[in-house]
Symmetry: D2
Subunit: 246 residues, 4 copies
């Protein structure tokens, strides 16, 4: 339960870290939107860990496939199914975590909730890899938003206590693509990279803060009193396992 | 929109008649349920048209694949994705229906609703083939119901005005598997088969009536006042394109 | 559970037959729609049993009150709460049905489902009186539809085996308001009235059939594959306790 | 739209600050739960502004009434409607804000979203008064949680930069009821009270931080990947207009 989000543009995520695939269904995307596997691939590729910065060691060669809902290069109004096959998976090292839950992961909770039947390999359904399904759905949403003048951008503003200097939006937009940490400020990015290296040597990791901006949003988005814009954004963001505050 | 059904055991259907595949996601199936591709294949095979009785001429070699949610032969609590790849599809004959809607089909409605972007090949999303996704989800539900003593059976009781004689439930259960029309009464089945042949020669088809029975159902299923048992059953049944009354 | 229906124009019904009130919340009605208590009262008054035809003996003096969502004679975009206070209720005669379920009613099911805590007086939540909440919501929907050219009309076409003769829509529209049975055919209405009287003398009641027509409906209403127009209509209709088929 | 929250214990909020009432429907509360108007009144009374600390100047004499769903002192399984009539309302002073939106309020957004038809008096649907409907629903939920050993407590830990000292949970539980700011630390409470008075004199207000704790929660609450416990909590909290972060 709980693997769907949204009403008019509803997404359903499925798949596991070390199962056959990870995928997503989008139900409600208007017909006629031009979209190709490349459009989605481009966004998924941004997930690839930067050099020397790998959050996880697996070299992911994630190739997006369209399974349904798109015909002759355009959405048809039918549910869009997007999928990435999992490849070159070595699950052997995960056998030992089956009964040894890792701290900061959902291993223990999942074991208890599903009576030990959960797919524990690589964190299974609780792996960060599941966010690839969000990215695929987001790539379609981005194409849709491009029809209006709405622009959405998120970027790192702080990691390990090192904060980005305030910058203008145009500069931020340029900076984000120039550093693997997607930081708004290039000088802060360098300092952060060093701090991460240091933490890594000590067997530690660092938390941080991401800022998201949406431009040209019409007045009155969101529905009071429960389906508010900030409430729905917060709920969506907490679907990312690493998010701890909004 | 509208491709999901259910709350606790929620299914999301996707795919098109002549696209790459038809599939279904089940979200909410409890963890630990033993299920194999064979269990699902068995139910899907029942859809195969009986000899000389083909509702549609395509020889469907429908092979079920489990894409997610099942690990070591049991459900994991994660969404279950089941899929059938479409094979040997010849869509060439459908090019002519692109702008020539067939009577009794959704061709015209789909064209208007989706501004002509719908996948028209073989009826696309409006094909009877989509019911294969219901059958796959139903196969999992059947395994789940088998844990209780609930038994569900549906059978033909009338086609083209020829009615099955009333029979005891045990006899019906046996009869249903003995004739390709799944009729409750073997003698009626023969008469109906003849009537169908005759109608076919005249370029016509016949309507009929199906009766469904659920045994050992606990008191109080369904939720008043809107999510009633009969209301939800009716809604589900109308998802089958050919159903015209409940 | 199950007391809400709809997504964009969502209604939530509450109240009991012999409790303080019956009411309904409409969430999603656009702002600016002119509506008065009289508009809603007019529809509720149509529920009043015709002379000598009372389906139930209680003389209901149902006075509609607007509790929220309407300001200066127009909807505000906030949820609309409409309410009828229950008056002059004599529940004494219902004490005997507390442990003696009536056939054809939900008394037994409700007792079992709610562990005997259900409000049994007058059928409580399972009374036909709950349909007054549907009528109030329908009255608002009707005002909304009046902004388009859509017209919805339902009428009796058969009771106790006596069928209305086929008539033109204009004639039906006139006939319906001329007879207490809302029958499409005035002559059939007379014969039916007699049959009802006769059945009543024998301590029996009669079933029948209602036909509903919607004119000027745009192509493509409803959402495949589950949220179809016929499926949602069927589900809504089964919320009326007396409806047994669609 | 958007005035309902939850699936199994679903609440629908209605009413306006200066309309006839504010109320809430609870759909899904199990039958048999003993609950009285006093139980709910007790929680609503906690909203009453402390002496000399009024967040708003109106002296609210909020009297809870049960309209449906409770019979003989227990829930019946039918939707529970709880209501507070608005009394002694002077809306005259709000006429001037009709076309003069206040900063930090939803006046402008509501005007734009609802085309000027929104009930602007006292903020209408966007008033903090709407949270009284949350409190009523919460009072029922609290009775339900009391059947298990789950305990939920929230308290102020910071206002205007003045932080509560860390305390043990038993001490916090006692402290919270001893000061009008519901602060976990009595000494911080005094300092905060002074800071509020000072800000008030300067025509300003202060932000702060509330911490919520739930004890004895079973493992595995919440549903991955979207209906997570933190995600749903965050969404619910953002329904409180003053909440800006979770």
């Amino acid at each position: 339960m709980g693997n769907s989000f949204g009403k008019l543009f509803a997404i359903t995520s499925f798949g596991e870290s070390h199962g056959r695939c990870v995928g997503v269904i989008i139900d409600g995307c208007p017909a006629g939107l031009p979209i190709t596997e490349e459009d989605i691939q481009r966004e998924v590729d941004k997930r690839k860990p930067g050099i020397g910065m790998a959050a996880t060691k697996r070299m992911e060669e994630d190739k997006v496939e369209i399974l349904s809902g798109i015909f002759d290069g355009r959405t048809t109004g039918a549910p869009v199914c997007l999928l990435i096959w999992n490849k070159d998976i070595d699950s052997s090292e995960y056998e030992r975590i089956r009964f040894l839950p890792r701290p900061g992961h959902a291993d223990y909770t999942a074991f208890m909730k599903y009576g030990g039947f959960n797919d524990f390999r690589g964190g299974g359904r609780f792996s960060g890899r599941i966010t690839a399904t969000f990215v695929m759905a987001g790539a379609v949403a981005k194409k849709l938003l491009a029809l209006s003048s709405i622009e959405v951008l998120a970027y790192t503003i702080e990691i390990g206590g090192i904060r980005a200097e305030p910058k203008g939006f145009d500069e931020i937009r340029e900076n984000v693509v120039k550093n693997p940490l997607k930081c708004a400020d290039l000088r802060a990015a360098e300092a952060i990279a060093e701090a991460i290296e240091k933490a890594k040597e000590e067997g530690d990791s660092l938390g941080g803060m991401v800022e998201g901006v949406a431009l040209n949003v019409p007045v009155g988005l969101g529905e009071p009193v429960f389906d508010t814009l900030d409430g729905d954004l917060a709920k969506a963001l907490f679907a990312i396992p690493a998010v701890k505050g909004v």
